[in-house]
Amino acid sequence: MTTFSFDGEEVTAEPGQSVGAALLAAGYRSWRTTRHGGAPRGLFCGIGVCFDCLVVVNGRPGLRACLTEVRDGDVVSSQEGAGRDHLAC
């Protein structure tokens, strides 16, 4: 089993699972809010086409949860808007 954290909570995953699949299995449905409406989003296409399941992994925003394989000890957090508010000016 692989273990990672999501917004501070510990989540387990099977080896080879994507971040999105592991979050889905753990009961999460959304981990992103949209830039304009602040609406919740999670997995939609599941195969890297729609860019709806964006997530922050180890500080890197904008990753597709459906394509990003979980590694043990990953720090995953939900993404608000573009996920780069630290650059906002």
Binding site: A22, F44, I47
Partner: protein, 433 residues
């Protein structure tokens, strides 16, 4: 990473790509088989760790994790720019497949609403069902394996069309008895799990605050207008209205395209699966959605011909039969544009509504989807119109009072950058030059 050029680069390791690579390699060609995923097989042959559908003879040719973001044509071949370096080849076989086509409805952006292919990918690729009470909806035979795989977790299958339409195509069906057996097997599986299968019924709205908890389904009349509605509780929706071929690379290469019978833009292939651009072959859904069997046959033809051999006549006969069946399928599962309410979101990325799309035509004078895209931004977000392109084209054409054309779809399908690449990665190329 620049090595000596391959004879043939096959892009996409799904059914078409694997068949093409095997056929080409079997005739002595040096093959590079590129796939964006870490594990090949495409969307059709999904396999979890330990189950590998790839023939041993091909494993050394596979370049996994190579997402092609741009193809350049050079005098003596092609340069494929991928997220894992450059690959050069004298001939290219594009077998990039397709993804679920979507028609927007109110609530389709709610978490818990998935594409049918997404639900299948989660289950087959990762062992995770998308919910415990799943509504499977949309149109086409693909809904059946999705529902059959989710088994008792499916609340109901809602098919907007009617499979009875196949009765209009007795010859196409007779030439493909296996397809009937396959369909019957899935329907038996649904029956065994007591999953209701409704035809001429569509999901017209999804409800929930931060996740879906119910959908409204409606019976459709002959003109596809909803006539009687009811609400069904669920915790997930898997929806798809056929497929959209991935045409980024054929369009970058300048290949001719056309409107196929299912309303999709597809690249034009000749009898040997050659595209209109010399040195480019097409196999599988990129040249017309027709399922995995047809993809395998087209891949085998393309691979053999690209390697300088004459494809077997039996392959050509098989292709003709499978294409006839695909045509019957497209006719049976016709997709209308739908008539989503004005405040329905069309473009999930930029959160553009149906109203904004229509206003671009009515108020601002846009006359095609590209113009609407420039004014109201549908298709301008991260997915670059992959998800909303078809629906936007339908809505714009409807607002302009005319049918959708191939040019409409091309205006939303051209993507000079086919996969995400950082500016830093791009700039590294400056030092190489």
């Amino acid at each position: 990473m620049t090595t000596s050029p391959a004879d043939i680069a096959v892009i996409g390791a799904g059914p078409a790509g694997l068949a093409a690579a095997a056929a080409a390699r079997g005739r002595g060609a040096r093959v590079a088989l590129l796939d964006s995923a870490g594990r090949p097989g495409g969307q059709y042959w999904r396999h979890r760790d330990g189950h590998n559908p790839i023939p041993a003879s091909l494993r050394q040719d596979i370049l996994a994790g190579h997402a092609v973001w741009h193809v350049e044509v050079e005098a003596d071949g092609f340069v494929l720019h991928t997220t894992a370096g450059e690959v050069r080849a004298r001939t290219v076989i594009v077998a990039t497949g397709a993804y679920d086509r979507q028609l927007p409805f109110p609530g389709w952006t709610l978490p818990g609403v998935f594409t049918a292919g997404g639900a299948q990918a989660m289950l087959k690729g990762h062992g995770v069902p998308v919910g415990d009470r799943v509504v499977v909806a949309g149109t086409g035979p693909f809904l059946l394996p999705v529902a059959a795989a989710l088994r008792h977790r499916v609340t109901g299958v809602f098919e907007a069309g009617s499979p009875l339409g196949f009765a209009r195509h007795p010859l196409a069906v007779a030439r493909n008895p296996g397809k009937l057996v396959e369909g019957a097997r899935y329907l038996r599986a649904l029956h065994g799990h007591r999953i209701p299968f409704h035809t001429r019924t569509a999901v017209v709205a999804a409800h929930g605050d931060d996740r879906v908890h119910a959908v409204t389904v409606a019976r459709l009349d002959r003109n596809r207008r909803p006539v009687s509605e009811r609400e069904i509780e669920c915790d997930a929706v898997a929806v798809g209205y056929g497929f959209t071929p991935q045409l980024e690379l054929p369009l970058q290469l300048g290949c001719d395209t056309r409107l196929d019978a299912d309303g999709s833009l597809v690249a034009t292939a000749d009898e040997w699966q050659r595209a209109s651009v010399p040195g480019v072959y097409l196999a599988g859904e990129v040249c017309g959605v027709g399922g995995a069997q047809l993809s395998v046959v087209e891949g085998a033809i393309a691979g053999a011909h690209a390697a300088g051999a004459r494809p077997r006549r039996s392959l050509l006969r098989k292709r003709a039969a499978l294409r006839a069946f695909a045509a019957a399928m497209h006719d049976t599962y016709r997709v209308g544009a739908g008539r989503p309410a004005d405040d329905t979101i069309v473009c999930r990325c930029e959160e553009v509504t149906v109203r904004e799309v229509r206003e671009s035509v009515v108020d601002l004078g846009a006359t095609d989807p590209r113009g609407v895209k420039l004014l109201a931004r549908p298709g301008m977000g991260l997915c670059q119109g992959r998800v909303c392109g078809y629906a936007t084209a339908c809505l714009v054409a409807e607002a302009c009072g005319r049918p959708v054309t191939a040019a409409d779809l091309r205006g939303l399908a051209a993507r000079p950058i086919a996969a995400p690449v950082t500016l830093g990665n791009l700039a590294e190329g400056v030092e190489d030059a």
